[in-house]
């Protein structure tokens, strides 16, 4: 490449990194965790939260690891007393106004702020603020997909950057100043009327419990869920999803950060369109027609049957038709939504067993 690697020392460990990498990126690449709230590997760093401040030799001030490029010969301490004290101060400031309702918070167990307070041994903020610390925002639960609780917002801006870059909409941004700063759609506009397309990328990016999927509420704690990676069932992009599953229930869906081609990104259908599988209206038994009739009055046209009876009937009627009219008197349409293994099996049945190539699907539409 012509550019040589950068060598530096973090917590006594010598490491090399590509030129241009930040201290945060270089550290993470080597498995060294520098705490942060506003850093997200898929987003441009903003250096907003100051949690990732680290001590660097010969630098009088602490430096934010997420925006400072690693340079040759740097000697970095991520957890020096000075760095930890600064980090503690920031967390204590946030906790002046952050509700301590972790018991009932959906984010409990996967909250970066909670982890930080735990790591730093902070029970509550030592600062007592007399004035208005902005802890009485009304819950914004008007949209059908996710709930916004600005009382829990730590103003890290990850949602703003996720919306802007990962979704390409910039439907929300910071409003007001100082302790009154919140993240909102344009002034005077409801989220539903803004550019928001409800892809929920902001929810995935939120490090705390300020943005929560509506369908997840009360469905399960993060430590009760298991992550199962799969592929989305909607369009042809083939996004990789992590299903957060408790028993047989999907608690929530997130985009697989390292998954291709979506790299963590999802749309409204991929993130929120999963619960049809639990519908009470699912077909659960084979059905056999009992009479011809008005096509609109579906229900009484069919009776329930066993698999044996239904499959025997299908096999024998196809056999009968083929014996009478030849193999090409049967045909089938496969499913462009179902598994490869299902389509393979259907064309195998038609070709190998029925001896016809009358098998198609909706490929050309």
């Amino acid at each position: 490449m012509g550019t040589s690697l950068v060598t530096a020392v973090i917590n006594g460990k010598t490491l090399t990194a590509q030129p241009g990498m930040t201290i945060m990126q270089a550290a993470r690449a080597k498995g060294i965790k520098i705490p942060s709230l506003c850093y997200h590997p898929a987003l441009e760093s903003s250096g907003a939260c100051r949690i990732c401040l680290v001590e660097v030799e010969k630098h009088p001030k602490l430096l934010p690891a997420c925006t400072t490029p690693l340079s040759e010969g740097m000697v970095i301490f991520t957890h020096s007393p000075k760095a930890v004290a600064a980090r503690r101060f920031v967390v204590e400031m946030i906790l002046i106004r952050h509700p301590l309702d972790c018991f009932s918070c959906e984010s409990n167990g996967r909250c970066d702020l909670q982890d930080l307070a735990y790591e730093l041994g902070i029970e509550k903020s030592p600062f007592q603020e007399e004035g208005n610390v902005c802890t009485d925002y009304a819950l914004d639960d008007t949209n059908p997909f996710y709930i916004r609780d600005m009382n829990k917002c730590v103003v890290c801006g990850r949602c703003v950057r996720a919306c802007d870059w990962q979704s390409g909409y910039h439907a929300v941004d910071f409003q007001f100043r100082g302790i009154k700063t919140t993240v909102n759609p344009p002034v005077g506009m409801k989220l539903e009327d803004s550019d928001c397309v409800f892809c929920g990328q902001c929810v995935q990016a939120c490090p705390v419990g300020a943005l929560i999927e509506r369908k997840s509420i009360g469905q399960g704690r993060s430590w009760e869920t298991e992550k199962v990676r799969t592929t989305c069932a909607y369009c042809g992009v083939g996004c990789q999803l992590d299903l957060h599953v408790k028993g047989e229930k999907i608690v929530r869906v997130t985009g697989t950060e390292e998954g291709m081609p979506n790299r963590g990104r999802l749309c409204v259908k991929g993130r929120f369109g999963y619960d049809f599988i639990y519908s009470e209206e699912r077909l659960t038994k084979p059905l056999i027609r009992v009479r011809k009739g008005d096509m609109k009055s579906g229900d009484d046209l069919f009776r329930e049957a066993s698999w044996d009876e239904a499959l025997d009937l299908v096999a024998s009627r196809f056999k009968e038709v083929i014996e009478r009219h030849g193999s090409d008197a049967v045909g089938g349409v496969s499913c462009a939504r179902s598994l490869n293994e299902d389509s393979y099996s259907m064309q195998k049945l038609f070709r190998m067993v029925f001896k016809t190539n009358n098998i198609d699907h909706c490929a050309r539409v």
Partner: protein
């Protein structure tokens, strides 16, 4: 796609035609937006001023069904101004003289007259394509769902070969496939002329290979019928027994009256699905199947990436995996199929039978994620870009001289509007899934017909007013959505909601379909708009 979605963010130039990506492939569109923000140039060609047009450096609002004339006009300029890739054409293509002669008939002035795109925009687009290389051509059903669908695609192939944009990163011909596994269903041979892995049924050695593998004799080498030929074959008595797996044909085929009649004529109809839908009432037997999350297997995305799909729950009641249903019918015919899972089917049958997928296994996908075919061996990383260095599967790229012909149903005095149909962001097809997902219905509880502001003003139609959209097949009562994104003379509707399903209006007559692929003209149907009394 010859290339990959990720390249949208790094390409030099994107040429998007007939793709409403922000609604139909939303995550792919995010990469396009990243690209534009980082310096990628964007040309958008579409009858509607849809969201992509907001990011475009050049937006060409062409008339529905004029794609070939427009593209021939662009190629006319590329050749006249010698902006094409002489070297690529000479080394990698044939039949160039035919193309030159044909596009000579489409000077920009004529292309402009037919397409409605101003002459200077056609020239501007040609010059951008001629000077910024490579460019990715990206299209969706706006190109294919016409009576000229196949020829539209061939025109785009002509363009990319002329520009030498094949076989390179940031280039290629890139159809965005509509459904999660429509690529996979093709790959698996749910096609009347191909076994899995694109192996032709008419080639005796191929059918012998499959016969040997499956342990049978007498596989048919006669190509089968396409969907429309099968459904039309039902009332004609040619097809007697019909099996529909996971398609709601009554709601999604054009001309609901026609398709209902066809299915009603079946001597024996099997419908295999996860819900009752508009098609199940026509069935003689309904088979309940396992849904997404209820079985292990794979999907193949639009960029040929085979990825794992995993089971998290049992199917409800007695619903069963689809492959099990097919296997059980085969057993009743005396065949005992060995495979008993998605993994068995892929690893022991599909990969060994198909050279393109031979190196893809469940273990590899579990370890490293999706793999793009062709992947001939287990040490092969998969293929991101097809036709590397201009090598086409048939040898040389073959230019086709293609003439523009009008849509099957052009607007006239009685039916002065053109109706295009498609999908909207929040819903999916006939809503069997999205209609049962909380939130999605609340966000979009009903369909509206998009019409232009000038048409609304002329006809005195207010936004949200209920109108009647009428075609030669039928009529639909629907609220109007008066939109600045719509051109005059056009109506746009989805097929998500039964009562307002645009398929009631479309033609199911195969004379209006693409003659080669039998793709219906979902994008071009003549209609009129009536104010309700």
């Amino acid at each position: 796609m010859t290339n990959t979605i990720g390249e949208f963010a790094t390409a030099k130039l994107l040429f998007c035609i007939g793709t409403n990506m922000t609604e139909a492939h939303p995550v792919a569109a995010t990469y396009l937006k990243n690209g534009v923000r980082s310096g990628t140039k964007l040309i958008v060609v579409d009858p509607r001023r849809q969201e992509l047009a907001d990011y475009a450096h050049i937006f060409a609002q062409l008339r529905v069904g004029s794609d070939i004339a427009f593209l021939n006009g662009v190629m006319n300029v590329l050749i006249a101004e010698n902006l094409y890739d002489n070297r690529f054409v000479e080394d990698n293509c044939e039949n160039f003289d035919d193309l030159v002669a044909k596009v000579a008939e489409y000077p920009p002035s004529r292309a402009a007259r037919i397409s409605g795109v101003p002459e200077k925009t056609i020239i501007e687009i040609a010059r951008m394509l001629g000077t910024i290389k490579p460019a990715m051509v990206i299209y969706t059903l706006g190109i294919t769902e016409h009576n000229t669908g196949k020829r539209n695609v061939m025109s785009l192939a002509n363009l990319q070969m002329l520009l030498g944009n094949m076989g390179v990163e940031g280039g290629g011909v890139n159809p965005m496939r509509g459904q999660n596994n429509v690529q996979g269903a093709c790959d698996m041979g749910a096609l009347p002329n191909m076994y899995c892995g694109y192996q032709r049924v008419a080639v005796p050695e191929i059918s012998e290979k499959f016969a040997r593998f499956w342990g049978v004799d007498g596989l048919s080498t006669r190509e089968g019928l396409k969907i429309a030929e099968m459904t039309n074959g039902l009332p004609a008595g040619k097809v007697k027994a019909f099996w529909i797996f996971g398609e709601n044909l009554v709601a999604t085929e054009p001309d609901i009256g026609h398709i209902s009649h066809c299915l009603n004529s079946a001597e024996f109809l099997v419908v295999q699905d996860i819900f009752r839908n508009e098609t199940t009432p026509y069935a003689d037997v309904i088979l309940p199947s396992a849904a997404w999350c209820e079985d292990d297997g794979t999907f193949t995305n639009t960029e040929r990436r085979v990825s794992r799909v995993r089971k998290i729950k049992e199917a409800p009641g007695e619903a069963r995996p689809n492959w099990w249903i097919f296997k059980e019918v085969a057993r009743r015919w005396g065949y005992d199929w060995p495979s008993n899972s998605g993994r068995d089917l892929w690893d022991r049958e599909i990969a060994p039978l198909c050279p393109a997928f031979a190196g893809i296994t469940f273990d590899r996908m579990d370890a490293i994620g999706g793999i793009q075919w062709p992947c001939p061996s287990e040490d092969h990383p998969g293929t991101a870009v097809l036709h590397r260095d201009g090598r086409f599967s048939r040898g040389k790229g073959n230019f086709q001289a293609i003439d523009w012909v009008p849509s099957a149903e052009e607007p006239d005095e009685t039916y002065p509007f053109v109706l295009s149909t498609g999908r909207r962001l929040v819903h999916y097809h006939s809503r069997t899934q999205t209609g049962r997902a909380k939130g999605l219905n609340e966000r979009m509880p009903e369909e509206r017909a998009d019409i232009s502001i000038p048409d609304a003003e002329r006809l005195g139609i207010a936004n949200g007013e209920t109108i009647r959209v009428v075609s030669r097949r039928g009529s639909v009562k629907i609220k109007a959505n008066v939109s600045k994104r719509m051109p005059q003379g056009m109506v746009w509707m989805s097929f998500h909601f039964w009562e307002t399903n645009a398929n009631r209006l479309l033609s199911g007559d195969t004379a209006s379909f693409d003659p080669d692929t039998l793709t219906p003209s979902y994008k071009a149907c003549a209609v009129k708009i009536e104010k309700m009394a």
